[in-house]
Amino acid sequence: MPVNIIEKIEVKYLQIINEKGEADPNLIPSVSDDEITRFFETIILARAFNQRALSLQREGRIGTYASILGQEASQVGSALAFSVEDWLFPSFRESGVLVAKGYPMWMLYRYWAGDERGMKCPENLNIFPMSVPVGTHVPHATGAAWAMKLKGHRKAAGVYFGDGGSSKGDFHEGLNFAGVFKAPVVFLCQNNQWAISVPRSLQTAAKTIAQKAYAHGFEGIQVDGNDAAAVYKATKDAVEKAKNGGGPTLIECFTYRLDDHTTADDASRYRAKEEVEAWRAKEPLVRLRLYLEKKGKWTKEYEEGVTKKAQESVDAEIKKAEAYPPPDPADLIRYTYAELTPRQKKEMKESGWGS
């Protein structure tokens, strides 16, 4: 009768390929070499996209931009685990996810140049506009997943947010609904150790973000977020589980933001160079290269080829983005409601815009 233990929770950590490119022999069979090659190539593409975005920003050709450097495994590994009919809900730091899903890069560049049309997701994808207010989009994924379940569609939703995002009430209410309604949703926390200048240790006293799932009655797992294979496997499993009626999963991708928070930030104000350098050694591409090399699937020429192709494709997309005609000012009003209100018609007229 006295002090009993009524609930036990264990939080797991998953890594498949370590920094040296060594794979866990028990786990690696779950990921094929083709898949690993795909991670490798997609990360190169995402990185090319990112690198050019940073330089475009410096040149004043796009606005403030949030770099994904260091987080490509988390983004690419998870994104590739979703099918094309699944719905994704990214935050602003998910260029890698969108690039991996084949979202037109030229549209992303336009978006970052301050053009809303860049977030008009092509019909063949189901990716919500990036959420800028941190964490607030978490319940949307729960809702969409719940709708899939209600409609009997065998699909899943995935939602991306940061360690900072996990402090928001929106995150918790979204998770709680998902737990209660067993919604087929995967919550992907990109724990990059920083929310602008606030380190993970000051974001929450919890040891892991993964364990927050248990507050809502379902499984949370931490994965090495710089290990695309581990991220992929954890996400794949979670998506499967979701589609099989097993409900939601929270995946904490333990990774690191190697760049400044955004191009408007100067991270040297608040974090030590040594910390950044230590993490740089663990960045996601190196281990894949080492792994593939060991498997005889990597050569310098191969990587150069992939890189060149990525860069060419990014260049073409930038050209396309910059050649795109400027938005019609009337768009500003046009998409507010399904139809213009009388007041809006008046405003259009006064502004001299066609309706």
Binding site: W87, E116, R117, M119, K120, C121, E123, F128, P129, S131, P133, T136, H137, V138, P139, H140, A141, T142, G143, A144, A145, W146, A147, M148, L150, K151, A157, G169, D170, E173, G174, N176, F177, V180, D331, Y335, T336, Y337, A338, T341, P342, R343, Q344
Partner: protein, 320 residues
């Protein structure tokens, strides 16, 4: 055709729309087994089952947030927020997401959902059960705000709201829920959004009001040749109807329950000051809640526009 009160009218609108469209679902706290704390959803669980009448956790942000995802995916959620005062928790979801997703995605996604919530002083309840915060929502482009005042328009407006492609806030006057019984057609009819109704024609004075206060404003109008406009939709509101009437009468009094300062009455007055000032014979008066926290039961009568305060305003404009 049968006599229904507003609770019954809303129930019937929900029921008919759910029959009409399989994607319509009702979510909220206590909407299922309990039939809602005001019994508005009574009987719907039995009729439509727990997959369509869904009790949620106590989580207003979660309700609205999940409804956004539900709606974007293709459901038509009607979310009940138990009292308007608790909608504040979901305000960011409404303002930063629900009403912007169409614009942010340039039309690819949209959020056709309805948020139903009782508003206003009415049931002598604990604190924060008496808010009327329409003005906040009316300031936000992208949302529609609807306030019925009779069983007939409650049913017809809710049907329009449910079929509307945009996010609609549907504010139900809790004080009127069971106090008016009137003829309501059994079958399908709608009352269009965005159009006001001339509750009473008149020549000397235009009165603009909505929801609960419409009835008090009407009662106070006895003895005046007042044209009484029931706005019904506050956003986008029927500017034309107001202007037409004011141009005829030359006088305008606006009556609402929410605090006066930056209340929706200000918008109506400002419209007229901008577009019909040359027709005005008298100052534009607002009779509204006081600059004070909505009080609990003992003082609420002092807070709300009273018949006397309203009448005084009518008398005052008639002196010009």
């Amino acid at each position: 055709m049968g006599k229904l009160n507003i609770v019954g009218a809303i129930n019937s609108a929900l029921s008919e729309e759910m029959e009409r469209d399989r994607d319509v679902i009702v979510i909220g706290e206590d909407v299922g087994r309990d039939g809602g704390v005001f019994r508005v959803t009574e009987g719907l669980l039995a009729k439509f089952g727990p997959e369509r009448i869904i009790d949620t956790p106590l989580s207003e942000l979660g309700i609205i947030g999940a409804a956004i995802g539900l709606a974007a995916y293709g459901m038509k959620p009607v979310a009940e927020i138990q009292f308007m005062g608790f909608l504040y928790a979901g305000l960011e979801q409404v303002f930063s997401h629900a009403v912007r997703i169409r614009s942010r995605s340039r039309g690819r996604f949209s959020v056709p959902m309805v948020i139903r919530t009782p508003y206003g002083i009415g049931i002598k309840p604990p604190e924060l059960h008496s808010e009327s915060s329409e003005a906040l929502f009316c300031h936000m482009p992208g949302i529609k705000v609807v306030v019925p005042s009779t069983p007939y328009n409650a049913k017809g407006l809710l049907k329009s709201a449910i079929r509307d492609p945009d996010t609609v806030l549907f504010m139900e006057p809790s004080r009127l829920y069971r106090s008016i019984k009137a003829d309501v057609p059994d079958g399908d009819y709608t009352v269009p959004l965005g159009r006001a109704s001339i509750h009473q024609e008149g020549r000397d004075l235009t009165v603009v009001s909505w929801g609960t206060m419409l009835h008090r404003a009407s009662e106070a109008a006895e003895g005046f040749d007042a044209e009484i406009i029931d706005l019904m939709t506050l956003k986008p509101f029927d500017e034309e109807a107001v202007l037409t009437s004011v141009k005829k009468t030359g006088r305008l009094v606006i009556v609402h329950e929410a605090p006066r300062i930056a209340g929706f009455g200000a918008e109506v007055a400002a419209l007229v000051a901008e577009e019909a000032i040359e027709y005005l014979k008298a100052p534009v008066l607002r009779v509204a809640g006081l600059e004070a926290v909505v009080p609990m039961a003992r003082l609420e009568d002092y807070y709300m526009p009273s018949l006397e305060r309203i009448r005084k305003a009518y008398e005052k404009v008639m002196r010009y």
